[in-house]
Each structure stands twice: as structure tokens, then as C-alpha cells.
């Protein structure tokens, strides 16, 4: 039995043992995604029906690789944080919850890293 008072349990990093880190990163990545996604939609409109050559030129054009990499990092970080909350809210079995949390984190990093590698490869040639 936990002999601590409710206040003692909530102090410091709180019951999540994570403090406000999750909350803060969700806001930070969300704010970053406002301009990044609007830029991406604008670019995607221009790329409607683009050929391979046109696409590769666009990816490597000055500024675009950096914005694309930032977009990918912010998307997968923000998305992973969001998925985590959904999983924690709806999956009640401890084993299934931990498994899904690990899979979602690994998948976000895998797809994020693969996308960044693709952006670099398209930028520096050798495709």
C-alpha cells in the first residue's frame, strides 16, 4: 500500500514520472509543423503529376532538403507522441500496451530515418 499523500505523489515529476516533457514536446513539434506542413502542401500542389527528374530536382533545390528533413522529424516525433497517448488511453492490458508502445516508437524511428536517408540520397545523387 502506498502510504504517500496524493500531494506527495503528484509533486516533482508527477504520477507519469515524466513531468511535462511529453506535453511540451507535443506542443513544440505541433508549432513547428504549422509552417512546415503548409510549405509542404504548397510544394505538393506544384509537384502534381511531376516526373522523376522534376521531383529529384525539387527535393535537392536549395533549402528544400533541410525543410524536408525537419518536416519528417517533426511529423514522426509529433505522431509518435500522439499515438502513445491513444495507446495509453484505449489499450488496457499491460503487456499489449507496452508492446504497442515499443512497436510504434520503433516504427516512427524506422520510417523517419528511412525518409531522411532518401532525402539525402536524392539530394546528393546516386539514386
Amino acid at each position: 500500500m502506498d502510504m504517500r499523500t496524493h500531494l506527495a505523489r503528484a509533486r516533482g515529476l508527477g504520477s507519469s514520472n515524466d513531468g511535462v516533457g511529453h506535453w511540451w514536446m507535443q506542443r513544440l513539434t505541433g508549432i513547428a509543423l504549422l509552417p512546415l506542413t503548409l510549405w509542404f502542401v504548397y510544394s505538393a500542389i506544384q509537384l502534381t503529376g511531376a516526373t522523376h527528374a522534376e521531383f529529384v530536382t525539387w527535393v535537392g533545390a536549395h533549402g528544400n532538403p533541410v525543410l524536408l528533413i525537419l518536416l519528417v522529424i517533426a511529423i514522426f516525433h509529433h505522431g509518435q507522441l500522439g499515438l502513445q497517448v491513444v495507446i495509453e488511453d484505449y489499450i488496457h492490458g499491460e503487456g499489449a500496451k507496452i508492446t504497442l508502445l515499443v512497436i510504434s516508437k520503433f516504427a516512427a524511428i524506422l520510417f523517419g530515418a528511412s525518409s531522411i536517408f532518401a532525402i539525402l540520397r536524392l539530394t546528393f545523387g546516386g539514386s
Binding site: 528511412s114 532518401a118 539514386s127
Partner: protein, 131 residues
């Protein structure tokens, strides 16, 4: 307050649908859809590294009627999640908590996402001459 007497969350089965609750769950659903969209973005980028043929395959798949339907849904999801995300940021600053404001900002987000989605697709079709 004793731990046993805490207020319960509403029972969804008998809970009357309201703009607040519907928009809240839509925020989650569009978020999950956008995570799928992020994987599509990954596929799009990676397909180009395998050369013109595989990129063409990706373009044909995304350009098919089913691909366009998915992309249309993702466009709406993006603008909805973005607009409603800004609404959430407002709440984080303690703004817009009156019931009337919650309703009006909610309607504004829905109008914003529908208009921006249609504008994006008009612009996209204009790029390829309406094909």
C-alpha cells in the same frame, strides 16, 4: 474528495453527440490518419531513390481514383488537425473556454478545413490542366 466519489467520464453509448465531443474524437482520428499519411510520404520519397520506374509506379498509385480519394482524405485530415491544433494551443493559453467560444471556434475550424481542402485540390487540378 474521496477517491470513490470522483466524477466519471461520460458513457459514450448514451452520450448525446455535440460539436465539442465530435470534434475532439475527430482530432484523434485525423491524427491517426495523418500518421498513415506520414508513411505514404516515406514511401513517396523512398520510391524516387529506386529510379524513374518505381517513382512512376508510386505516382500512378497515388494518382489512381483510390489514391486520390486517400490523398483527399489526408488533405482534409491535415487541415482539420492543423486548425484544431491551433484551437488547442489557444486553450493552452487559457483562451476561448466559454461554451459559446468553444462552439464558434469549432465551426471556424470545420469551415477552415473544408475551404482549404477544396482550394488545395482546385490548385492541384489546375496544375495538371484538370485531368
Amino acid at each position: 474528495m474521496a477517491a470513490q466519489n470522483r466524477p466519471l467520464s461520460p458513457h459514450l453509448q448514451i452520450y448525446k453527440k455535440q460539436i465539442t465531443s465530435v470534434m475532439s474524437i475527430l482530432h484523434r482520428m485525423t491524427g491517426i490518419a495523418l500518421m498513415f499519411g506520414a508513411v505514404v510520404l516515406s514511401y513517396w520519397l523512398i520510391s524516387a531513390t529506386y529510379g524513374p520506374e518505381s517513382f512512376q509506379t508510386a505516382q500512378a498509385m497515388l494518382g489512381s481514383w483510390f489514391g486520390r480519394l486517400v490523398l483527399f482524405g489526408l488533405t482534409f485530415s491535415l487541415f482539420y488537425h492543423l486548425g484544431n491544433g491551433v484551437r488547442h494551443l489557444g486553450w493552452d493559453f487559457g483562451m476561448g473556454f466559454e461554451l459559446s467560444q468553444v462552439r464558434s471556434t469549432g465551426i471556424a475550424v470545420v469551415v477552415f478545413s473544408v475551404v482549404l481542402t477544396l482550394l488545395t485540390w482546385f490548385a492541384g487540378y489546375a496544375m495538371i490542366g484538370g485531368a
